[in-house]
Structure formats: structure tokens, C-alpha cells
């Protein structure tokens, strides 16, 4: 029997100790009318060898196309040691570290994780991770509304250039609490500062700023931060941790810095794996820590005065405060955060800077190669980190299909999310894309564009 160790003799000994004649009697409190005869419709068991062959066949079927899509998930190199260590049984099959003395490994990893995220974002305190970047953004909005006691607003100003998926998830998660997202228009791929003249920062609990934004561009982070603070709104900085190896972090935006930073942790050693599991991060100023959702690890001492780690500030959480908790969240993304901590440790600051610089250089090279093709131009002049928008003289979908049948994923079609940009494509070339890969993309695209013209 798969994963059940009982022998026939165990079963009869145990049944008689319990005082029943057969296993079925153990379910005698379930009303007879609700009992079923079993799970009709579930097939027979596969052996380990059989399921391995099946899954390998399906994986091969999906292939390994050359990926130039970013749009929130990025194809970075993950050193072998990261997941070899993270999937050790002692990390992989442990539970939430509620019994601190028997969970010092997980707890210390999270404390190190919190330290690294605080440093990357330039802020003071981090939690132990949230589900993903989109939910971290939604939690940041909820947190800002609770924390901003000055204006009691239930509106958040959110740029149109912020990830459409993040805006959608936030809308879903905030709806029940009647918190509204108000859109800040865009111009030339970044926030339209002129529209600020018609707005008052005091009408918002917080202003969100994503940098680089969903379109890859670097926004006016200092101006927006100062404008928000001048009216008493908090600032939520949404960032890519890989970009933070190079860019000024949210904690240093404007005169006072963002109050909360959040984002998607996937670029830190987490494979793209169809969208998850990733991890969201949420970091803030000390002053708003009591409004932080999710688990937090602190360093303390044991009864002999020896340093040790424990979950702390738990009075915020659902298992203590129930309906008055800061969030319903219970789970963090422990194992994924563990992998990210190992990744950041292996690369260190120079390694991260080197990867980030290569991404920036490769995307620059890709953009140069593609705008050399007829009918392709850059949509915006704003500087970018590792993603940029290209305008085509024809619908992007057809071009992407043709590239895909040549084993190239050419980017993310923006026409559904940003119809005002016309035939626009968001492209990305991480450190994994070689000069030959970029040439292959450009050469194939040249043929496709030439053939169809």
C-alpha cells in the first residue's frame, strides 16, 4: 500500500485494541445516508516508475523554448546549491516554526531573509514573506489604510503603469473592505506628473509607485514620493529585488523614502515554474510594524542567555486575534524564502550586481537588434532596467505565434492590458540570453516580418 506502513498483524492488533471488528466501523458516526462506496472516477494507482515516465513525457512535450518574456517572472540562472539545500528533508518536510526550540534552522533562515530584504529595499523591518508579489501589494494597501491615521482615507492612488495583475488582485482583495484603487494616468510609459495638479495627496491613504514599472521604465520616484508625503499620504514602493542590486531602493526615494516596500521575490533564485510557488516580500518602517501582516521572526535569548530565534509580535495574527487580525494570512512561503536566502548568500552583493548589469546590457542589445528591423520602434524614451516596450507596424499576436513555432517566446503582448499603446510588445533579456540567442530572435523576427509584409 503506498505510504501506509501497516502489516496485516498491525491492523488486527490495532482494531482489537480499539474494539472494532473492521476498519469500516471507525466511520460509524458518519450518518449512513452520507456514506459513499468509494471514489468512483479515480483511476488505479501508478507505480513510481510509471508516474515518472508519464510526467517526463508531459514535460518533454512542453519543451524548452527560448524565453524573452518577463512581465513579472524572470528567467535567471539558479545555482545548483540553492535547491539542493532548500529541499533537504529538514527544511522541506518541517512545519511552521511554532515550537521554536525544534525549529531554530527555519527561524534563523527567516531572520537572515528579513535582514537581506530590509537591506535590499533600504527599509527597517521585513516579515517572513507572503504568497506572491500581487498579494504582497494588496496586503501593502491594506496595511497602509490601517497605518495612515492622519487622513482616514480608503483610497490608494495607483499608477496605470503598475502591473495589471497586481492591480486586479488588489481590487479583488480590497473590495470587501471598501478600499478603492484610483488610477494615476501614464504618459510616455511613466506616470503623468501633470495629472498630479488635479489631485490632492491628502485624499489618499497611500500612493503606490512601481520602479521599474510594469513597462520596464524607471519612473519619477523622488517627485512622486515627495508629492505623496507633502499631503500626508504614505508611499508604497513596488520593486524587483534584482533591480535593487543597482537602483536606489524605495527607502531612499525622495526626501523621506517610501514607508512600505513590496514586490515579487521570484528573481532571487526561484524558477519560473508556470507561475509559482514564488514569494512576496513586505518591508516597512519601524513605525508601522504593528500593522504588518504575516509571520515575523525575532532574535531573543533563551533562559541561559544564549541567543535564539522565535516567531514574534504574534498578537497581530489570526490564530491569536481571530476576526480582528491584521490579515487572514497564516502560511508564508517558507521553503521558497529559504531558497531565496541561499541564493542571495551565494551571489552576495557583487554577484547580484553582476547579474543585474548583464540583464540591463542584454535587454539593451535586444532592443537595438529589434529596432533595426523594419516596422519596429521603441515606444518610449524613458530609461529602462531589463524590460522595454517595442511598437510594431502590425498586430503583435501574429508575430508571437510565428516566433513560438520557431521555439522563441518573443515577449508579452500588451494589447489587451494597454490598448492605447497599439501594437506593443514587452520584451526582456535576462543574463541567461546569450548574444547568439538575441541574434536568433532578431533573425527569425526579420524573416517573419519580411514574409508577411
Amino acid at each position: 500500500m503506498p505510504f501506509v506502513p501497516h502489516t496485516e498483524s498491525d491492523i488486527s492488533t490495532m482494531l482489537s485494541r480499539v474494539g472494532v471488528a473492521a476498519l469500516g466501523e471507525l466511520f460509524d458516526e458518519i450518518p449512513a445516508g452520507l456514506r459513499i462506496k468509494g471514489l468512483e472516477g479515480i483511476g488505479p494507482a501508478l507505480s513510481e516508475a510509471e508516474i515518472t515516465q508519464l510526467m517526463q513525457m508531459r514535460a518533454r512535450h512542453d519543451g524548452e523554448p527560448l524565453c524573452f518574456i518577463g512581465a513579472g517572472a524572470y528567467d535567471h540562472y539558479v545555482p545548483a546549491a540553492v535547491w539542493d539545500i532548500a529541499t533537504r528533508g529538514e527544511f522541506y518536510s518541517a512545519y511552521t516554526p511554532y515550537q521554536a526550540e525544534a525549529s531554530q534552522g527555519t527561524l534563523q533562515v527567516i531572520y537572515e531573509f528579513q535582514t537581506m530584504l530590509a537591506s535590499l529595499t533600504g527599509l527597517e523591518v521585513s516579515n517572513a514573506s507572503l504568497y506572491d508579489g500581487a498579494t504582497a501589494f494588496a496586503e501593502a494597501c491594506l496595511m497602509a489604510v490601517r497605518a495612515n491615521r492622519k487622513n482616514r482615507s480608503r483610497n490608494i492612488l495607483v499608477p496605470r503603469t503598475l502591473s495589471p495583475a497586481y492591480r486586479e488582485v488588489a481590487r479583488v482583495m480590497l473590495k470587501g473592505q471598501r478600499i478603492e484603487l484610483v488610477e494615476l494616468p501614464m504618459r510616455d510609459g511613466i506616470s503623468d506628473l501633470k495629472t498630479l495638479d488635479n489631485l490632492s495627496a491628502g485624499d489618499f491613504a497611500a500612493v503606490a509607485i512601481q520602479n521599474p514599472n510594469f513597462l520596464g521604465s524607471l519612473d519619477h520616484v523622488d517627485v512622486l514620493t515627495d508629492w505623496a508625503h507633502s499631503g500626508g499620504a504614505l508611499v508604497i514602493g513596488v520593486a524587483n529585488p534584482m533591480a535593487l542590486a543597482l537602483l536606489k531602493p524605495p527607502g531612499q526615494w525622495g526626501a523621506a523614502g517610501a514607508d512600505i516596500a513590496c514586490g515579487e521575490g521570484q528573481p532571487m533564485g526561484i524558477p519560473m515554474s508556470s507561475g509559482g510557488p514564488y514569494f512576496g516580500f513586505l518591508v516597512c518602517r519601524q513605525a508601522v510594524i504593528r500593522q504588518m501582516p504575516g509571520r515575523i521572526v525575532g532574535r531573543t535569548v533563551d533562559l541561559e542567555g544564549k541567543p535564539g530565534f522565535t516567531l514574534t509580535l504574534q498578537a497581530r495574527e489570526q490564530h491569536i486575534r481571530r476576526s480582528r487580525a491584521t490579515s487572514n494570512i497564516c502560511t508564508n512561503q517558507g521553503l521558497v524564502a529559504t531558497a531565496a536566502t541561499i541564493y542571495m548568500s551565494l551571489l552576495g552583493a557583487p554577484g547580484l550586481r553582476s547579474v543585474a548589469t548583464s540583464c540591463n546590457a542584454n535587454t539593451s542589445a535586444l532592443v537595438e537588434a529589434l529596432i533595426a528591423l523594419p516596422g519596429v520602434t521603441r515606444s518610449f524614451a524613458a530609461p529602462f532596467f531589463h524590460e522595454a516596450v517595442l511598437a510594431f507596424d502590425r498586430p503583435v499576436a501574429g508575430v508571437l505565434d510565428a516566433l513560438s513555432s520557431n521555439g522563441i517566446l518573443g515577449g508579452y503582448d500588451l494589447s489587451a492590458d494597454y490598448p492605447e499603446l497599439g501594437n506593443a510588445l514587452l520584451v526582456c533579456a535576462t543574463e541567461m540570453r546569450s548574444a547568439a540567442d538575441i541574434s536568433a530572435y532578431a533573425d527569425t523576427a526579420r524573416e517573419i516580418l519580411g514574409a508577411a509584409a
Binding site: 503506498p2 505510504f3 501497516h6 491492523i11 472494532v20 476498519l23 471507525l26 466511520f27 468509494g38 471514489l39 488505479p44 494507482a45 501508478l46 518533454r60 519543451g63 518574456i69 517572472a73 528567467d75 540562472y77 546549491a81 529538514e90 527544511f91 518536510s93 516554526p97 515550537q99 521554536a100 525544534a102 531572520y111 528579513q114 537591506s119 527597517e124 514573506s129 488582485v169 479583488v172 470587501g176 537602483l247 519560473m272 515554474s273 508556470s274 510557488p277 510594524i289 532574535r299 531573543t300 541561559e304 535564539g308 489570526q318 491569536i320 476576526s323 480582528r324 487572514n328 497564516c330 502560511t331 512561503q333 517558507g334 521558497v336 548568500s345 547580484l352 548583464s358 540591463n360 517566446l409
Partner: protein, 489 residues
């Protein structure tokens, strides 16, 4: 031995994982950061040793019996991990075209179908990333359903007092008011109180069955009738699905919406606190409200269902499509069990729980509901021992660690004083259950003969008991180097 922080290593030899290039970022100096990043500078071997040593400071299923009630800490088969980490699955971009994802999508489609069968639901969405997010999806769907009928006054969610804390927290997050219902002496819900509160403001009820008391709610059909007659819907918290797999279906009990913790019943790893997966299932009438995306099969081709196709959907809950890699692990596990294996899960989870309960009772421990059949878990109350010796449930929990057993869940549910909620799962052998009973008896004997020593436990862990008050009063959440001299975060 204390393992230093990774920041306290300082080998300068570390190289990045891409060849150092002379490339400079093509960006203006004004956007670049100028401060030093607080990231480690350790050699690869130092990093590997550090995290390997830290792993050795953990209890885990792979190393210890972990009878944590309501958490279903069963064996996580290694092959599930290996197959979820096939390079093509890891390398698949979430926004890649479905032509490059038919293998993955077919797998997800079949997982949706198997979960429908296992719960008696009409449709499943795999996108919620943990149990609490599944709960959120469920309550949001209940609200959307009432709103779609113009029935907007329904803002009350009924929750039993034995419920997990995420239930009331979720209801609040969805903008609902929580109405708590007491539990009767026999462990079932106080149905008279339920009748009194169910009415025109009732949006629904959130129930775990078996409950967190480890008891099957015998009045479930009557509860469903009361809630439905009042115009409300029933939400099933799947935390305890392991107890009934293949024996009865939440759909047959009258539930309209359910979440399943794939990290419990379907054996995906807990990972030191996540990632989880809280797939949701619904009956026909809630189908239009399911969170997107989910997989559909049209003319033999697998595609993602979108909000355009399901305009009444509550929308997206994650940037992409949930914890995809966790879902692959659950799929592999379910296919390896097959029908018979799945039915045996509850057989042996419940046999182990009842055997352990009887053994502990015969060893002199007080069981909270001795007249009832245990489900996959049960409660021991240490109230009398605590009164007579001063040794509490927490002391027992810590002392068990010294015997090489992870502690059961302590002080939950809140209804039973000095309680241990014990869930052995089907993957433990009789031998490990017997070892646990022996350890419990020894601790109890020590509580009477030498209570002070028991209260000192644990003695064999990397640290002794930690000062939680100090941790909360002077939070030290981020390491500061001695040189930086900044205020601690």
C-alpha cells in the same frame, strides 16, 4: 553549538554566477544606489555548510514523528518533488503560450477533475495559494452569489467557536460580520443557537467537518437544511479532509463551496511554513464565481479560462496561476495512490488516531471526548495533571522534544483547557505510535516525581526555552553589523 549568522562569514573569494563582465549599467548615476548592500560575502562551501547545519537544527517529518493536530504531517514522497522539478516544468514561463504548456495544462485539468471526485463538487479552481486564501475565495464567492441576486443585506458569516482563527479573520477581510456559535458538551454544534441566529442577514456558515475537536459533526444534514432554508450557503474548511477521504463527500453533506489544503491531505510539503495550496471546489450554482484562471478542455486542447469567459468570476487571486509547482506534487501523489490508495488514507489515518487515543486513555490520560469516535485526530486534556503538579500542556510539548517527538498542537482549540490536539496521520507505523505513548507516560510520571525538571525542558535542543516577552518588547528583527551602529530594526 550556535551557528553564526551568514553575515558573520567574510570570505572575499566569492564570485557571482555569471562571468564578471566589464559591462556597466546603461543608466544615469542619479538612479543608482550608492550604499553598501547587507548581503553575505561567504564562499560557496561556507554557504552550503551554514544552511546544511541550520537544516540540522529543525525537526521535520523526514526525521521525527510530528503529530501536530490539524496539520496532517504525513510523509511527503520524494518522487513528488523530483517530478515537479523536471527542467521543462521549472523553465516554463507562466505567460508562455498554451502550445508550449499542453503537458502542464493537461496535468492541472486532471488534478481539477480528481479533486472534484474526491469532494463531490462540480468544478475546481487551483489558484488559491494557501488554505486562508482558499477561504477568502470561498467567502468572496458566497458574497458575489448573494450580490448577483440583489441580496446584499447578507453580511453575516456564522463560525463555530472551535474554528481555526483564519475563519473569522477571513470573514472580516471579506467585509463580513462574524457570528460565533458555541459547541455543546458532546462536541457537536449548538443547533438551537444556530436556528436562533440564521436568518435574512446570514451570508453563510464556515464549518470544518470533522471539527477541530476531532469529531464528525453528526447533525450536518440538519445544519445544511437550516442554513439553506435561511437563504445562506455552506462553506467547508478542508483542513480535516484526511479523515473522510473516500468515505463521504462534502458535496453530499450539503456544502456549496470547499477549500482543500493540498499540503495536508495530498501530501505536498509544509516547507517550514509554506508554500501551501488551497484549491477551491464549488457546486453548480457557484460555478460562475470561481476565481480565474482554471484549466478547461475545448476540442481536445487545454486552455486557461479567463475573466472574459466568466464575467461573474470573483477575479484573480495571484499574479499568475497559483502555486503551480505545489499542484504538480499533489497530482503525482494522487496518481500514485489511485482510487484504492486514496480510500485507505482515511482508513489508516482514523485507525492510527483511534489506536493512539485508546492507548493514551489506557495509560491514564484524560481524553476530551471519551464517548465519541475519534476522527483523524483527538484531544487529550492535561487539566488534572496541571492542577496537581503545575506541569502544563506547554511543558509536555517541550518535554516531548527531548524524547525525539515533535509536540502536538497545544492550546488549540481554545475550548478545552490544557489541551493537546494529536494527529498521527496514516503514514506512521504502530511502532512510532507506541513510542509516543511511552514518552507521554514517562513525562507524566516525571511530572509527579520531579515537576521542576519537566518544567526545564527541553534540555537537548539547540536552545533552551526562549524569552518570548523580550522578543516582543524589544523586537530585533533585522541584524545590524557591529560597525553600522544603527538602531536595531
Amino acid at each position: 553549538m550556535t551557528e553564526p549568522l551568514i553575515f558573520e562569514y567574510s570570505s572575499a573569494s566569492r564570485q557571482g554566477f555569471v562571468a564578471d563582465s566589464d559591462a556597466r549599467p546603461n543608466l544615469l548615476a542619479e538612479v543608482l544606489r550608492t550604499d553598501e548592500l547587507m548581503l553575505p560575502s561567504a564562499s560557496e562551501l561556507e554557504v552550503v555548510r551554514h544552511y546544511t547545519r541550520l537544516s540540522q537544527q529543525n525537526f521535520s517529518i523526514d526525521t521525527q514523528f510530528y503529530p501536530l493536530g490539524s496539520c496532517t504531517m504525513k510523509y511527503n514522497p520524494r518522487v513528488c518533488n523530483r517530478l515537479a522539478m523536471l527542467p521543462q516544468f521549472l523553465g516554463r514561463h507562466p505567460l508562455g503560450p498554451v502550445e508550449h504548456g499542453q503537458g502542464y495544462l493537461q496535468t492541472m485539468f486532471e488534478l481539477q477533475e480528481m479533486l472534484q471526485v474526491a469532494t463531490g463538487m462540480a468544478a475546481v479552481s487551483l489558484t488559491p495559494m494557501a488554505g486562508a486564501q482558499g477561504e477568502f475565495a470561498g467567502v468572496a464567492m458566497i458574497r458575489a452569489y448573494h450580490e448577483s441576486r440583489g441580496d446584499e443585506a447578507r453580511n453575516q458569516i456564522i463560525v463555530p467557536d472551535a474554528a481555526h482563527g483564519t475563519n473569522p479573520a477571513t470573514a472580516t477581510m471579506c467585509g463580513c460580520e462574524v457570528v460565533e456559535i458555541p459547541t455543546r458538551e458532546d462536541g457537536d454544534l449548538d443547533i438551537d443557537r444556530l436556528r436562533a441566529v440564521a436568518g435574512s442577514n446570514t451570508a453563510g456558515i464556515m464549518l470544518t467537518n470533522p471539527s477541530t475537536l476531532g469529531l464528525f459533526e453528526r447533525q450536518i444534514e440538519e445544519i445544511a437544511a437550516i442554513i439553506h432554508a435561511a437563504g445562506g450557503l455552506l462553506y467547508y474548511d478542508g483542513a480535516n479532509l484526511n479523515a473522510i477521504l473516500g468515505k463521504t463527500l462534502p458535496g453530499d453533506m450539503g456544502f456549496d463551496v470547499i477549500h482543500m489544503n493540498l499540503h495536508k491531505t495530498f501530501s505536498t510539503p509544509h516547507g517550514g511554513g509554506g508554500p501551501g495550496s488551497g484549491a477551491v471546489g464549488v457546486t453548480e450554482r457557484l460555478k460562475p464565481f470561481l476565481p480565474v484562471p482554471f484549466v478547461q478542455k475545448v476540442d481536445g486542447r487545454y486552455t486557461w479560462a479567463t475573466e472574459e469567459q466568466y464575467p461573474q468570476s470573483i477575479g484573480r487571486l495571484s499574479a499568475f496561476m497559483g502555486n503551480a509547482g505545489v499542484l504538480l506534487r499533489a497530482y503525482v501523489y494522487m496518481r500514485m495512490l489511485g482510487r484504492t490508495g486514496m480510500e485507505r488514507v482515511s482508513d489508516f489515518a482514523v485507525l492510527n488516531a483511534n489506536y493512539l487515543m485508546v492507548c493514551l486513555r489506557e495509560a491514564g490520560f484524560e481524553v476530551a471526548f471519551p464517548e465519541r469516535r475519534a476522527s483523524h485526530e483527538f484531544i487529550v486534556s492535561l487539566k488534572q495533571i496541571a492542577r496537581e503538579t503545575g506541569v502544563t500542556a506547554m511543558d509536555f510539548a517541550k518535554a516531548l522534544l527531548d524524547y525525539g517527538f515533535h509536540a502536538p498542537t497545544t492550546y488549540f482549540p481554545l475550548l478545552v483547557p490544557e489541551c493537546l490536539l494529536i494527529e498521527p496521520t496514516e503514514s506512521e507505523s504502530r511502532r512510532s505510535l507506541d513510542g509516543f505513548v511511552a514518552a507521554m507516560a514517562k513525562i507524566r510520571d516525571a511530572a509527579y516525581s520531579d515537576p521542576d525538571t519537566v518544567k526545564q525542558a527541553p534540555l537537548t535542543m539547540p536552545v533552551r526555552r526562549l524569552d518570548d516577552v523580550h522578543a516582543a518588547k524589544q523586537p530585533d528583527l533585522v541584524w545590524q553589523s557591529a560597525e553600522s551602529g544603527q538602531r536595531k530594526g
